[in-house]
Amino acid sequence: MSVIDYDAVVIGGGMSGLMAGIHLLEQGHTVAVVSRGDPAVCLSTGCIDVCGTGVDPMAGVDALPATHPYHLAGREKILAALDRFSEIMTDMRLPYAGNAGENRAIITPLGTTKLTCLVPRTMETSPRKPDEYIHVVSFKGLKDFYPSYITSARKNTGFSLYDAGVTTTMGIAARFEDRKFLSEFITWLKGLEIPDGKLAFPAVMGLEHPLSIMQEIQIELERWGFEIPTLPSSLPGIRLFKGLKRAFQAKGGDVYWGSPIASVERSAKNIEAVTIETKGRSTRVNGQAFILATGSFVSGGLFALRDEIQETVFNLPVAAPGPRDDWFNRDFFTPGHAIEGAGIRVGQDFRPLEGTLENLFVCGSIISGSEVMKYGCGHGLALATGLAAAESCAEALK
């Protein structure tokens, strides 16, 4: 067995874990992020939903039930986390637009709108008025984006298709990183007769440099353009994840990727180490403190058995919403299935309430009562609780 020591070990490489990791590094601690694989943020729209219940996100947060984990972080921490996030992404050259004062409605791939708070700058000019002309420019054979969903759902639209030579989201995005491809695309665009209005593109406009690619198109065409999120593979989600991961690594954080946690060593009050299944022999990662950021069911932090819900790393007690009969609504599409509220109950300091562990801090959607789908608060909650849990952890490490 190999042994490696860190001040803090973060389990889970998603939004919340990386945010917590970055804060702890900035406080001068040595930090490792251990992740079983790429996080669910890669499948997301890349937009930061803070609270999607109304136009004012913070008023929405205030109105959430008293048991919602946002209240543990508090208004100030939420705003600080969003600011910090915006700074990080600007440093990583993937800047975000928007502020916590107001939600904006962006166009979805279905042609509907969704409320969100911060958006990648490539989506900044998504139209706010329903009758504004938008011209959808998509790509021949691209199966994960249907312009007709948008043109049929909205008035005043048109669309054109470009033959990129490849038909996948990742393939087209990679092509846009090639200057020659971009200039040919711009030349083709200039040849189209498009009514006055904005250009809408599926979010395939580059892997690493989407903003400069979009800016070049807008300058050359002399009109606004914006990206619309696609089905996974979702480039804005991937860019967001890679941006945060690179920020974490640039500050000196270590990543251990793709290895599940095989076992945990604990004493009465502390987690001493986690052992990861690395190739050949296992690796024991020691930590003074641990942060649990493994997410909810989709990300594998929680696992539902027939009559019981388990926390998959430390086997912490999970607060379940009653017996199985109460977990789901009769109608699948009615928002707010009770099971979404399942999770770990934590205190003001983000330590688990049940049990005696003192060096474990929990953040993200694994916290009980999160209900991120119902309230439209996934990434916002991840950032706010990630920062708050890390501050509490840093306090304990002093």
Partner: protein, 395 residues
């Protein structure tokens, strides 16, 4: 079979470098777990496109559900190769070790011949690409010279691998000297190819023969208290993952448990208090390209942890792109365009980082990225050696 755990989330597809640039490859999700549902023993393979997978293992690292598409595809590749005529390039690269042995012995002539137009045309006819100069063979291969160096309580076997052995013995010797300078006894027993090129070219039997031979030698040393240090991360992955896994050779588990990356081993010695080296300043900006197979071993990036101790050394970790060469994969003509397109993406980011040199733990990555970026490519041990020399002279 683990393919049933796939929830079709497409995270593997997002991470596949081949899928990104080659429309003929349906990606790890479809070639792995999806197609696996239709594959049956005793039925001839029709999925020719599995050969387009470069076995970089990025899908495996990315998968949050432990499906391991790369391994499913590897098995399909071996099945396909067993049922169909293999190309001359497949045969040649599977037997890379013998090619290297010959090439190194005849290096003064072999290198000259390999550089001629005639040879290039012949290579092309055989399905071998020549976009990049063939790595030169070196007469003074690692297997020549002293078999045992240094003295110390800690004893290690250096598994240098074919590339360092035949093509860059200078780098191999740098690693060897580094280990000796840290007070280790270093033994270089007779060894053969790790078996990965044979495995990657569909020859499971040959791969198993190589592995059996190596395992019997290495286990003998391990039983005497030696640890194994590998000089290439792809050899390392093969020792650690395939010897006890798909190759299933006797002693494979023991080899896997006792094999270390060079930097990983140095850190282990430091952490255990066995050594306390002084790292002197190295004023340099390095783009540290993480080999896909180092990621796949799962031990993190040990060289980066040592870089962090070196004063003056600025480094960017670049782990989001594959170099595209993937051993012999990119040397096949049918993969040339793919390897170049992938490699150019990685090289563009390296140049963008403003680095003066690039570093990588894998010989193939260094060869490809040095060629495409125009920068000098170093083995991390070369940087560590420079730092320790400075440290020793100032002390």
């Amino acid at each position: 079979m683990k393919f049933e755990h796939c929830i079709r989330c497409t995270i593997c597809v997002e991470n596949c470098p081949v899928f990104r640039v080659n429309p003929a490859f349906p990606g790890p999700k479809q070639s792995g777990p999806d197609a696996q549902r239709f594959r049956m023993d005793g039925e001839k393979s029709v999925d020719q496109w599995v050969q387009l997978c470069s076995q970089c293992k990025r899908c495996e690292i990315a998968c949050p559900y432990g499906v391991d598409p790369a391994e499913i595809i590897l098995k399909a590749q071996i099945k396909y190769a067993g049922e169909h005529m293999r190309s001359p390039a497949n045969y040649l690269f599977a037997n890379n070790y013998y090619l290297g042995t010959l090439g190194s012995l005849a290096s003064p002539i072999a290198n000259r011949i390999a550089a001629t137009e005639f040879a290039k045309r012949t290579f092309n006819l055989m399905g071998i690409s020549t976009y990049m100069p063939f790595p030169r063979f070196n007469l003074m291969s690692m297997n020549k010279g002293r078999r045992k160096l240094g003295k110390g309580v800690r004893k290690v076997v250096f598994f240098y691998g074919c590339f360092l052995n035949f093509n860059r013995p200078d780098v191999g010797r740098t690693i060897r000297e580094l280990l000796v300078s840290l007070g280790l006894e270093v033994v270089l027993p007779h060894q053969v190819c790790c078996g990965l090129p044979a495995l990657g070219n569909g020859d499971l039997e040959l791969a198993r023969r190589f592995a059996t031979r190596n395992a019997s030698i290495l286990v003998e040393y391990i039983n005497k208290g030696y640890d194994v240090i590998y000089g290439c991360t792809s050899c390392g992955l093969t020792l650690a993952h395939d010897y006890p896994g798909i190759l299933n050779v006797q002693g494979g588990k023991k080899v896997a448990e006792n094999s270390y990356n060079v930097s990983e081993y140095i850190l282990k010695l430091i952490d255990e208090g066995a050594i306390n080296p002084t790292f002197g300043p190295v004023d340099m900006r390095v783009a540290y390209h993480i080999p896909c197979h180092l990621r796949a071993i799962g031990i993190g990036y040990p060289a980066a942890r040592i870089f962090a101790k070196i004063p003056g050394l600025a480094y960017d970790i670049l782990d989001d792109h594959c170099c595209g060469l993937s051993g012999s994969y990119g040397f096949k003509r049918k993969n040339q365009a793919t390897a170049l397109a992938i490699g150019n993406q990685a090289a563009a980011l390296i140049k963008e980082s403003g680095a003066q040199v690039l570093a990588s733990d894998c010989g193939a990555c260094r060869m490809q990225l040095a060629h495409l970026s125009g920068l000098t490519a170093l083995e991390p041990s070369e940087i560590i050696t420079a730092s320790l020399r400075k440290g020793a002279s100032s002390a």
